[in-house]
């Protein structure tokens, strides 16, 4: 009577992952076969570096999306944390300045979280409003780009650990720790559960607003970290960076199968989503596709990817 259900459920997760992994493998294979450059050390390093920002933002976004929310403010936080860090570097030791950058993200995330969870405001508008406000604050802090003199400022963004950029390792560590957090800690499970049914969670004696706030704080922290890394990588912090970064982050989550209604999504699949996006960009560049044709194709490929994802989910 119920045997088939077991299969459907287990089947579903496995199928999605399998289809998804094959999709990524396919992309990589196509890339490797059709472009001489793809497998070069430089290009692979590029790929690894280019996934850092989207990766960090996507993980934070996933946590928020799991609660059934959304965080549109991450791009502005990237800008603020970067410019703050660069501004503080003149007076403070670099690690302290960088910590301050990350903490500014934590602070903004906290405010987003409190507004959403304690005041019961719609996440979309709260974070849209804070997108605007934080962007304004970044410009108020400094209208002009800030380029710290000390070359040590570049280290975080450009140092390599063997063939792998340190910043990529940090992003991977965030994903690994995040995976453990979401699947193996009470707080992480609570966050996932809240997106599934907040009332049930509340009645289980779990403090829902606190966990929702935590989710936004994590997203803010990830954005803060991304901002610091980006500023260090570029060597110059600009108040204007990060516009529309939230869109790629959200896209990565959804391509990875996360549901914007909350309660469904995995770190691994989200990481896959990040990979897909970065690969698409990389491929279109390697082929030298003209910028606006890149846009045309990128949109079409994303649709194709989620169509494949969906077909497999239904079949499985």
């Amino acid at each position: 009577m119920t045997g088939h259900i077991a299969r459907i459920r287990n089947g579903r997760d496995i199928f999605v992952t399998a289809a998804f992994v094959s999709l990524i493998v396919l992309l990589v294979a196509v890339a490797a076969l059709t472009s001489d450059t793809f497998l070069t050390q430089t290009n692979l390093t590029n790929l690894l570096k280019q996934m850092v920002t989207t990766g960090l933002l996507a993980f934070g976004m996933l946590v928020v999306i799991l609660t059934g929310g959304i965080d549109l403010s991450v791009g502005s936080i990237v800008a603020f944390s970067g410019i703050l860090t660069a501004g503080l570097v003149t007076g403070l030791p670099i690690p302290v300045a960088m910590l301050a950058g990350v903490l500014s993200g934590v602070g903004f995330g906290l405010i987003n979280g409190v507004l959403v969870s304690r005041f019961g405001l719609a996440a979309f508008v709260v974070t849209l409003a804070s997108l605007t406000t934080i962007r304004g604050l970044a410009f108020v802090y400094s209208e002009v780009p800030i380029a710290p003199e000390d070359p040590a400022f570049f280290t975080l963004g450009s140092a390599m650990a063997g063939p792998i950029p340190v910043s990529t390792l940090i992003m991977l560590a965030v994903f690994a720790a995040g995976g453990v957090f979401l699947t193996r800690t009470p707080a992480g499970r609570s966050i996932v559960a809240i997106g599934g049914n907040a009332e049930t969670v509340r009645l289980a004696g779990i403090n829902v607003p606190r966990h929702v706030t935590l989710a936004y704080t994590i997203s803010g922290a990830c954005a803060g970290l991304a901002g610091v890394i980006l500023a260090s990588r570029v060597g110059i912090a600009q108040p204007s960076v990060g516009v529309a970064f939230e869109l790629d982050a959200i896209a990565a989550c959804v391509i990875g199968g996360a549901s914007l209604a909350g309660g469904r999504g995995s770190t691994r699949a989200t990481f896959g989503g990040v990979l897909v996006l970065v690969l698409i960009n990389n491929l279109l560049n390697l082929y030298g596709v003209q910028s606006f044709w890149q846009q045309v194709l990128k949109g079409l490929i994303i649709i194709a990817v989620i169509l494949v994802q969906r077909t497999n989910r239904v079949r499985g």
């Binding site: 590029n46 570096k49 780009p145 380029a147 980006l230 110059i236 204007s240 279109l284 560049n285 606006f292």
Partner: protein, 306 residues
């Protein structure tokens, strides 16, 4: 060219010897544009009898139109438009004309529509100048990368690139490589586009970016790839950080001056002159001297906002 003209103050429209000048920025969110806005305000301050009302359309053309109408409803004496990436706004120019006010364009010369006066760079010339510089520096030829700001409807950028190309494509030993994606006029974009460019063309000898901000990002990408000694950099604008890099003797060798501070100040002066009844030149091309290690110091303005 017509420099600032500290001519005797003329009677203002309101008759109190004071002028109110509206500034319509299309998009302040970029160092060049906010620098321009500040320069206009600073010059007005210097004049003493000019009040500035500054607006920002945040990149929305309809909002620019409304902002201009706002300014007209406040009965400003003249309007200065810093049009940024906007290519033109004929209907907006029409409404200013209908209100009988003069309009001065700074930096961006609108393609269509009637304006009173324009002050800005000759972008094609800046490009050519960069091209010539690179040709000098690469007597043995080699690959030259080009990083564009985008989007494709941006004529300022394409004029610069065309200028570079017109010189370099004539050199048989030089190959041009245009990056397929845009750097969006920022350092972060310059960095990623340069990274991709290096992956496909590791043997570049030089790179030209349509502005300094992108060059600064590209410079980091080149440094990260350990190719600082191999690749030289040429930019446009004279952004403070770029001037510094040039002065410091890095591989950032040249930029074509396109100083927001100068253009902004001249724009304000021009508006005041017109209000004073002076007959002015319609289009004023601000010279864009080639800035290298030798002369960079003289363009470094510690009080400048760009």
């Amino acid at each position: 060219s017509s420099g600032p003209d500290p001519a005797a103050p003329a009677a203002s429209a309101s008759g109190d010897g004071k002028y109110t000048i509206g500034v319509a920025n299309f998009m302040l969110g970029g160092p060049y544009f906010s620098g321009m806005d500040k320069a206009i305000a600073a010059q007005a301050q210097k004049k003493g009898n000019v009040e500035i009302i500054s607006t920002d359309a945040n990149g929305d053309a309809a909002k620019l139109a409304s902002n201009v109408e706002d300014l007209l409803s406040k009965n400003v004496d003249a309007v200065i438009i810093s049009g940024g990436p906007l290519e033109s706004a004929p209907a907006v120019l029409n409404s200013i004309k209908a209100a009988g006010k003069p309009v001065v364009l700074v930096d961006r010369k609108f393609q269509t529509g009637e304006y009173t006066s324009w002050i800005g760079p000759d972008n094609e010339a800046i490009g050519r100048q960069n091209g010539e510089f690179l040709a000098e520096k690469l007597p043995d030829g080699g690959k030259v990368g080009i990083i564009k700001g985008g989007p494709a409807d941006n004529t300022i950028g394409s004029a610069r690139t065309n200028g570079v190309k017109s010189v370099l494509s004539a050199k048989s030993n030089i190959t041009l490589v245009e990056a397929p994606d845009f750097g969006n006029w920022g350092s972060d974009g310059g960095l990623t586009v340069m990274e991709s460019l290096l992956a496909t063309n590791g043997d570049l000898k030089a790179v030209f970016c349509e502005n300094d901000a992108m060059c600064l990002g590209a410079q980091r990408a080149i440094a990260d790839a350990g190719k600082t000694d191999q690749i030289i950099i040429a930019g446009v604008d004279g952004q403070a950080e770029a001037l510094k890099a040039i002065m410091d003797g890095t591989n950032y060798l040249v930029t074509g001056l396109n100083d927001a501070d100068i253009i902004g100040a001249m724009g304000l002066d021009r508006a005041v002159e017109i209000l004073g009844g002076a007959q002015v030149e319609k289009d004023t091309v601000v010279p864009s001297p080639r800035v290298t290690k030798e002369n960079a110091k003289q363009f470094m303005n510690p009080d400048g906002s760009f």
